[in-house]
């Protein structure tokens, strides 16, 4: 997305096509984020991700072991995590190995951090403004 924006700047102006390109890239990015957060909204799926974070990889039955749910239910959760780009599954013989995909998580974190920066800056301004107002009120007393 950034690169598309930079390309447009190099070209000196935003064409209709480049604006469309940026918007559609952004929309895709937010769709991905929605999927990531929706996938992480379920406690079982978070536990699966947490358990994968503690080791490099795990088989489906290893992942299923701590839960009181049947294997097909675990498979369904893994399907959602896979769709959201949070894990990869690879099959060797009869064993499916599951691994985390850190880049999706990093993207979600980067988005959260950008939100934090955005609001932090505003609250700094609010603080400065309110403190100025307080001083004004006190000097009037």
């Amino acid at each position: 997305m950034l690169r598309a924006a930079q390309d447009c700047e190099h070209a000196g102006k935003l064409t209709t096509h480049s604006v469309w390109l940026i918007l559609s890239l952004m929309e895709n990015r937010y769709k991905n984020l929605d999927r990531t957060f929706a996938a992480l909204g379920d406690p079982t799926r978070r536990a699966i991700v947490g358990s994968l974070a503690r080791r490099a990889s795990a088989s489906v039955s290893e992942l299923a072991a701590p839960f009181a749910i049947k294997l097909p239910a675990v498979m369904k959760h893994l399907g959602v995590l896979d769709e959201a780009g949070l894990i990869t599954r690879s099959k060797t013989g009869r064993v499916v190995t599951v691994r985390l995909r850190p880049e999706t998580m990093r993207e979600a974190m980067a988005w959260l951090q950008s939100q934090e920066r955005f609001w932090s800056k505003r609250l700094d301004k609010l603080t400065a403004y309110a403190e100025r107002k307080e001083l004004e009120a006190q000097s009037r007393k």
């Binding site: 952004m26 929706a38 992480l40 406690p43 974070a53 850190p102 998580m105 959260l112 609010l126 403004y129």
Partner: protein, 143 residues
């Protein structure tokens, strides 16, 4: 349901902070992202009342955000919806909640911002994914 919480200690009385958060004049002073001019600021701080803020950034782009007051409880608490109506990158409506508490030399302000894009997003906030993400961040930064 919270996705982001920030706390500030402000050396001003809760009443003053509350006005800064809810009045058109107050909002105009802090909501804008940089030193660019505020083009319009309207606010009707009562339940169901609307606010609207339009500003021009130093890069000459114009932006507007607006929403509705859901809770107005001076000088303690205000809850509002918030969304970009012009020039914003963040789609969907979010919810901003600001609570104020009188402390020794002023006010403790707690700000929280949550997304309400859809049911599943709202549920996922309740589930506390932010905590999960934070824990996992430590893990990934080791790799």
């Amino acid at each position: 349901m919270t996705s982001l919480t920030l706390v500030r200690h402000i050396r001003a009385a809760p009443e003053i902070v509350f006005d800064a958060v809810t009045t058109a004049d107050g909002i105009a002073h802090w909501w804008g992202p940089d030193a660019g001019p505020v083009l319009l600021s309207e606010s009707d701080p009562r339940v169901g009342g609307k606010y609207r803020l339009r500003f021009r950034k130093l890069d000459d782009t114009e932006h507007e955000c607006s929403g509705e007051f859901l809770v107005v409880d001076p000088p303690r608490r205000v809850v509002l919806t918030w969304r970009w109506t012009v020039g914003g990158a963040d789609p969907g409506e979010s919810r901003v909640e600001i609570t104020l508490r009188a402390i020794g030399d002023g006010t403790e302000l707690t700000f929280s911002h949550s997304l309400l894009q859809d049911e599943s997003a709202a549920r996922s906030h309740e589930g506390g994914w932010i905590g999960a993400l934070r824990k996992l961040q430590a893990h990934f930064s080791r790799r």
